[in-house]
Subunit: 322 residues, 2 copies
Amino acid sequence: MSDLVLGMDVGGTSSRAVIADLDGRILGRGTAGGGNPTSRGVGPAMTAIGAAIEAALAGGAEGPIDRARLRANVIGAAGFGATDAYAALATMWHELGVPGEPVLVGDVEVAFASGSDALDGSILIAGTGGVAAAIIGGTLGPMADGLGWMLGDHGSGYWLGREAIRRTLQPGRDPADPLGDLVSQRLTGTSLTGEWVVDRLAILTAAYALEPVRLSEIAADVVAADEAGSRQAGEILASAADELVTTLAGIHRPDDGPVVVLGGGLLSSTRLGELVADHILARWPRTTLRHTGSGAGGAAWLAARNLGIDLPASVHAALTRS
Amino acid sequence: MSDLVLGMDVGGTSSRAVIADLDGRILGRGTAGGGNPTSRGVGPAMTAIGAAIEAALAGGAEGPIDRARLRANVIGAAGFGATDAYAALATMWHELGVPGEPVLVGDVEVAFASGSDALDGSILIAGTGGVAAAIIGGTLGPMADGLGWMLGDHGSGYWLGREAIRRTLQPGRDPADPLGDLVSQRLTGTSLTGEWVVDRLAILTAAYALEPVRLSEIAADVVAADEAGSRQAGEILASAADELVTTLAGIHRPDDGPVVVLGGGLLSSTRLGELVADHILARWPRTTLRHTGSGAGGAAWLAARNLGIDLPASVHAALTRS
């Protein structure tokens, strides 16, 4: 029987595992709840990660997978920094009978690997948050932004929501622009009254009553308003693209590798993703642009590469197909 | 006996009252704790406001003041918007035996009046927060920013603190710049280690453990670093000045009145105040620049003006002297 690798993509809302052979064939898949030990707690995180692994080991049409065939693994995860979570992960690992020790790498490294088989390049992610990182010789180099909602994440979903509220409350805004009403509906459940003092108080009261990260929900309204022809939304998206490319520029060294991988919900098949791609190609014309694929597949690719075998690009493509 | 006016400046941390005659002579002063009913609660706020009035009525060297001489009053206060606070204030007012009804105006109107006796002009305030407002015919016109720490207050103390952390965590920052160490000392109690990943985690952990508004405490470190020659701090202050003048430009109509009053701890005798003043004079060369004075005195001036008597500028100067 051929050698197998295990790849995982562990996030705050889901944990995904794939088991694949070195031809890129996926033999088992598993999905469970969020596995970030910082946000979920160590116990629930380990339960989720373990459940995803067991589901993958159950295999597909060819039946259960012999865990002794697993030669390498990579787990892409955030939230393992400041806790005793790694020890708990290793204990759970041995209880499951998975060979070797769990190999943890950062979620941005796995995201890069899901989009490119290059050893060098940069990744830019914009979703709820925003971060860029350089990948140098296959490992994580300098990062820019990723500072969270309070301090940074410029151009991210939170930032878009904040800008949308700011512009809605700006004196002299165009009352015909559809963005303000979408923001008001989202926050207060009603349309703008047109009385600025009343609207301002209602929107501020509703916004400060929310957990701050929930401002990122307004990002969907910015995208919708832009599609409906809102000039304000278009300006916000253009500014977000500037901010994100500035974040990327903080770490991108195009001479080391021309690959830039774009990831996160805001950069995949949206207007913001197009704007960012245009900016990047205008600034660094020789860029090879890629989008992220399956994170668990990217982790499986990293695991396979760690075996020291020279694998063709077709294996990368097969593993990371979403 | 001559007619008197009562002026009050009620804020989140203190409540100040002055009683003055129409020549600008201050006959009584009182100070008590914070009187913002939203942040302090209605009960404690009324206790503080009442205590400040009673202290002012106790008078100075000439003894207690006959409250029957009070012809007008103005109370400049924030936080009376969405509560039953005004009714509680009126009840307290009558229990104290102060004639008439309490006349509430916004804190920015009183701040403008503390710096200028003009009926038209603009005010720009930068302290913990940042806001600009137009004063038109003696009453409050459009406002810009003032959206609070989460949504705005660009160029304010909170914003300065946030920018200082962002720059400290930026890849490729100059390690010799003194700002980073001041930020690290403030947040973690220790200097930067020089290991970027370690410093980044320590600073982010400490920053997110704080109540967000407390980032404004870092503003003092930005000012200190600038004085010590920090290029990063100088750049942050220059950006803050740009942001604040942009906020002002959102509402300032120089043809209506050339007066701009600057207020808040960050604009009085600081480098940021100088930068903002320079920007304003470069953009609107005919501006008459003023700084805020005694808020309670400004409220007393508004009360006197409400009597319909034409008062000389010397009375305004006497009332608002800090």
